[in-house]
């Protein structure tokens, strides 16, 4: 019974490193899968996938899916599902169009109103789920029908647009280059003296600078956290692994930043996405609110007996989902530059698929923000790559379905093995 204390400490430290590895392994696995898929389509499309303009497109095409996947991750970790997000996004996009185009609201005011509407919608559904104990599948299935219907009613069959320019910038805009472009190779000129596209090389300097700052901040915080662990007497992961991991991530970030910089710079929506992703990583990893969602999804009865207000927590998770669905609806509408009766249709399936591909458990209690984001991009890159390759939409669906099934099956197989 009396174990040698010194022995236990070193054992614990070693195991910590090993466990940390194990914990991160599936995340690395996802990153590797995304890189493999990008590599595959890069080759199959003769490099078109990696063209700056196309990479920018991939981000724009998937931004609203990623935004909703952040909320959906919390919903699924909490042990629920939300089938209504596509309809809600479509409906809120229509509300935005009516406010701005028909009533002339200022874009910012309209956006705030729309996000509030999303919060109310999420709260209403959350009320039925959390307090009335109606299964989320049923409540949000009803919500899906209701808001699809309200979308049609609100638009009355027409498409409303275009939006004010300020609003379009949410999805179509890029950050301004305050420093000025850095021209490395002058573009070739054609006979009339205009530049030929895709020749020459000039970079969006601000984007590069932001990339460098992000990498520096990331390295600073990683080192800081590592030092803090060590100063408390806990050994962190091996130094070589630490360096390798951070170098790879830094490399990927700089590669992408370079690509964006050689087109028009960082899209505005990517900034929004980046801030939200960082926020949700923080919420799930560091905040009591996030921790309690995981505890509730893992064992609701135990969470309740530990003093967690499970009803209130469930309610808030759905309010959050509603607000993010609203934001996604705004992004989508701004991208199309109009609200259409078909907006949002089927989007919920892409969102849910992204979260599950990202390793969340349908039973609740397990999931990662990073996983959901990578999951969204895995599906997004496949969409984009197959589109460029000219694969028919029918086969695209089949392949995406099989990838979803395969990813979850592989995950379960891995878990059983350990």
């Amino acid at each position: 019974m009396s174990t040698d204390t010194a022995g236990t400490t070193t054992n614990a430290a070693k195991a910590t490193a090993r466990d940390a590895m194990k914990e991160n392994l599936r995340q690395y696995g996802l990153v590797l899968a995304l890189m493999a898929i990008m590599g595959f389509f890069g080759v199959m499309t003769n490099g078109i996938l990696f063209l700056p303009v196309n990479l920018t497109n991939v981000v724009l095409q998937n931004s609203y899916i990623v935004v909703m996947a952040l909320g959906m991750l919390l919903v699924i970790v909490a042990g629920h599902i939300d089938l209504s997000v596509g309809s809600v996004a479509g409906f809120v996009g229509a509300v935005a169009a009516v406010l701005m185009v028909d009533y002339g609201f200022h874009p910012l005011l309209a956006a705030i109103c729309c996000i509030a509407v999303g919060g109310v919608i999420g709260g209403a559904q959350g009320y039925f789920i959390a307090y009335m104990k109606i299964p989320s599948f049923i409540v949000t299935l009803a919500g899906m029908l209701v808001f699809k219907g309200l979308l049609l009613w609100l638009l009355g069959g027409r498409s409303v647009g275009p939006f004010p320019t300020g609003f379009q910038m949410l999805s179509a805009g890029f950050i301004p280059d305050v420093i000025g472009r850095w021209t490395i190779i002058e573009p070739q000129l054609n006979a009339s003296g205009a530049a030929i596209p895709n020749t020459g090389l000039s970079l969006h300097t601000t984007t590069l600078l932001i990339g460098v700052l992000i990498v520096a901040a990331m390295l600073y915080f990683a080192l800081q956290s590592r030092r803090s662990r060590e100063s408390h007497g806990y050994e962190a992961e091996p130094f070589a692994l630490f360096v390798a991991k951070n170098l790879v991530i830094a490399g990927i970030i700089m590669f992408l930043m370079y690509k964006f910089a050689s087109y028009r710079g960082l899209p505005n929506v990517l900034i929004v996405m980046g801030i939200l992703i960082a926020l949700f990583v923080f919420i799930t990893k560091r905040m009591t609110f996030g921790r309690r969602i995981f505890a509730m999804g893992g064992n609701e009865k135990a969470a309740k007996l530990s003093g967690i207000h499970t009803e209130r927590l469930t309610f808030l998770v759905f309010v959050n989902m509603g607000m993010l669905a609203a934001l996604a609806g705004l992004i989508y509408a701004a991208r199309l530059n109009q609200a259409t009766p078909k907006a949002g249709a089927g989007m919920e399936l892409d969102v849910i698929a992204a979260v599950f591909v990202g390793g969340a458990s349908a039973m609740g209690g397990v999931g990662e923000v990073a996983g959901a984001v990578i999951g969204a991009f895995i599906m997004g890159v496949m969409n984009n790559g197959m589109g460029i390759m000219g694969i028919n939409i029918d086969w695209q669906q089949v392949i995406k379905g099989l990838v979803l099934l395969g990813a979850v099956a592989f995950d379960l197989y891995n878990k059983k093995k350990t």
Binding site: M1, A12, A15, R291, G298, N299, K301, A302, G307, I308
Partner: protein
């Protein structure tokens, strides 16, 4: 058609012969030996009672017999009707006529009586269910068990007593020769219990053999031909009808020598810090039924108080209703902490007032089994490792490591998933969680259920240490020796009432048992 109407000559032929013999049955669970060399011999046509304390191994033995634990997962042999049997599942044992009715009824509430009777045994013709035949046969079986109900009535619309009869009808439909009833009267009223026992006697007259598991000694005395006593997973003795006395059964049931299984402690009991007054709780689904009937409980500073009682006495229901009203409806009564009336109507308020409750079922109510030790330890008191909703990772890790050391959790690190820990270590994680919430009063519900002797000792040591620190501790346990070994004072709870209170050093298992039996007699009269 019926499995029980044996012809007279057949009855005479089989009477007195051994129909079932279980030889040297040993069954081990990870870390626990549940049965060790148990022998049981049942004669054809008798009612054989098996008695023993909670956790003695009665139900485990019956699960071995009925194939719930298949052949190969236990040692020893089962001989039935002269042949050795190797059951691989409940279907195998039912095929030869052994049917078990479990303590928790296995009926589907929203199906009809007839549908339940023939569930898994549907009355088919060419693979298509013949509902007319099913209804006719169901009605016939219901007559046999003396239940006057329409076979189309839904199970949910009839009472527990009648449901028990439907279970028996279901067994009869399976051509039962050996009927096993596991605590059939545990949730029945006096009247329903009496009717059920009469039915058993009627079946016996028709030649059926029954095994009755019960800890209600008056019932056993009333119907059993022979009684086998099981204690600590071993057969103690089998006595014939004329030898059966309450005293002898009690002595057999509890007569173990007290080994040095409990760490010693010098109690230092201070003023009362926890008091529950006139506490009454109603059943959540049947609000007219009182589960706790106006009881008073007191715990002093540094005192370890036990609540003894049989399964279904209302001990867990009491604890959960006090702790944030997590059980029951229509709760009335007062809770006092530190001499002041305290609001414990939600878990949050109960914890804030210094109360903690470690549950009986750690897997269902205690732990997030898919998460690691660290997160489980801090979940009930996250604010004290966080600032404005942001968790301080290092502070949390420090806490987790501290409690891992304090309660001696054996794991590779605090990052081990709790689902992979042994029962004893899981229990220590639950204890750590509540210790970290820093309560003044801890209610521990079955703190050592299903864990091995060594781990039990460690849990007792932790309990002692907490008492020394001046906390009040209320222990609920079905193991009487445990209560006798660690408690300063013991309440005996029976059917929602306190039927006895005794100082730890004056208490004995006989006294507790007698208090329970007396309480039952009083309730019956």
């Amino acid at each position: 058609m019926s499995g029980i109407r044996l012809s007279l000559s057949e009855r005479e032929r089989t009477m007195g012969q051994t129909i079932l013999e279980m030889r040297d049955i040993t069954k081990t669970f990870p870390g626990v030996k549940a049965l060790s060399n148990v022998n049981l011999s049942v004669e054809a046509g008798e009612i054989h009672a098996i008695v023993g304390e909670n956790g003695a191994g009665k139900s485990t033995l019956m699960k071995v017999l009925s194939g719930v634990y298949p052949h190969g997962t236990y040692e020893g042999a089962i001989h039935y009707e002269g042949r050795e049997c190797r059951f691989h599942g409940i279907h195998d044992s039912e095929r030869v006529g052994i049917v078990i009715i479990h303590q928790e009824l296995a009926l589907v509430p929203l199906l009809s009586i007839a549908e339940n009777i023939f569930l898994g045994n549907e009355q088919t013709r060419f693979g298509i269910i013949d509902w007319n035949m099913a209804r006719r046969r169901a009605a016939e079986l219901l007559r046999k068990v003396g239940l006057r109900e329409n076979p189309d009535t839904l199970i949910t619309n009839i009472g527990t007593g009648k449901q028990q009869l439907v279970e028996i009808a279901k067994a009869l439909a399976k051509e039962v020769k050996l009927l096993i009833l596991d605590e059939p009267t545990a949730s029945l009223s006096e009247k329903d219990s009496a009717a059920l026992l009469d039915l058993l006697l009627e079946f016996k007259r028709q030649g059926m053999t029954s095994i009755l598991i019960s800890h209600k000694l008056n019932e056993v005395k009333k119907v059993a031909d022979r009684v086998t006593v099981i204690r600590d997973g071993q057969t103690i003795e089998t006595m014939g009808r004329d030898e059966v006395t309450e005293d002898r059964i009690i002595t057999s049931m509890v007569g173990r020598t007290m080994e040095d299984r409990y760490p010693t402690r010098t109690p230092n009991i201070g003023e009362t810090i926890f008091e529950v007054k006139n506490w009454t709780v109603h059943h959540p689904l049947h609000p007219e039924r009182q589960v706790i009937k106006g009881i008073d409980v007191k715990v002093g500073k540094g005192e370890v108080v036990g609540i003894a009682g049989l399964m279904g006495a209302g001990r867990t229901e009491f604890a959960m209703s006090v702790f944030g009203r997590t059980y029951g409806t229509n709760i009335s009564g007062e809770v006092w902490l530190h001499g002041k009336k305290a609001d414990t109507s939600t878990v949050g308020k109960a914890v804030a007032n210094g109360l903690a409750y470690a549950t009986e079922d750690r897997k269902v109510y205690g732990l997030n089994l898919i998460d690691h030790i660290k997160h489980n330890v801090t979940i009930a008191n996250l604010p004290s490792v966080s600032r404005t909703g942001v968790i301080d990772d290092m502070a949390e890790l420090k806490v987790a490591n501290e409690y891992r050391r304090k309660t001696n959790i054996r794991s590779s690190s605090v990052y081990q998933i709790t689902g992979n820990l042994s029962g004893g270590n899981q229990q220590k994680v639950v204890l750590s969680k509540w210790l970290f919430a820093n309560p003044d009063v801890l209610i521990l519900d079955e703190p050592t259920r299903g864990i091995d002797v060594g781990a039990k000792y460690e849990i007792y040591t932790i309990i002692n240490k907490l008492a020394e620190e001046g906390k009040g501790i209320l222990v609920i346990s079905s193991e009487m020796p445990e209560l006798l070994g660690i408690c300063d004072r013991i309440y005996v709870l029976n059917e929602g009432r306190i039927v006895g209170e005794m100082a730890g050093h004056e208490a004995s298992q006989e006294k507790i048992m007698r208090a329970i039996v007396r309480g039952e007699e009083r309730a019956a009269s």
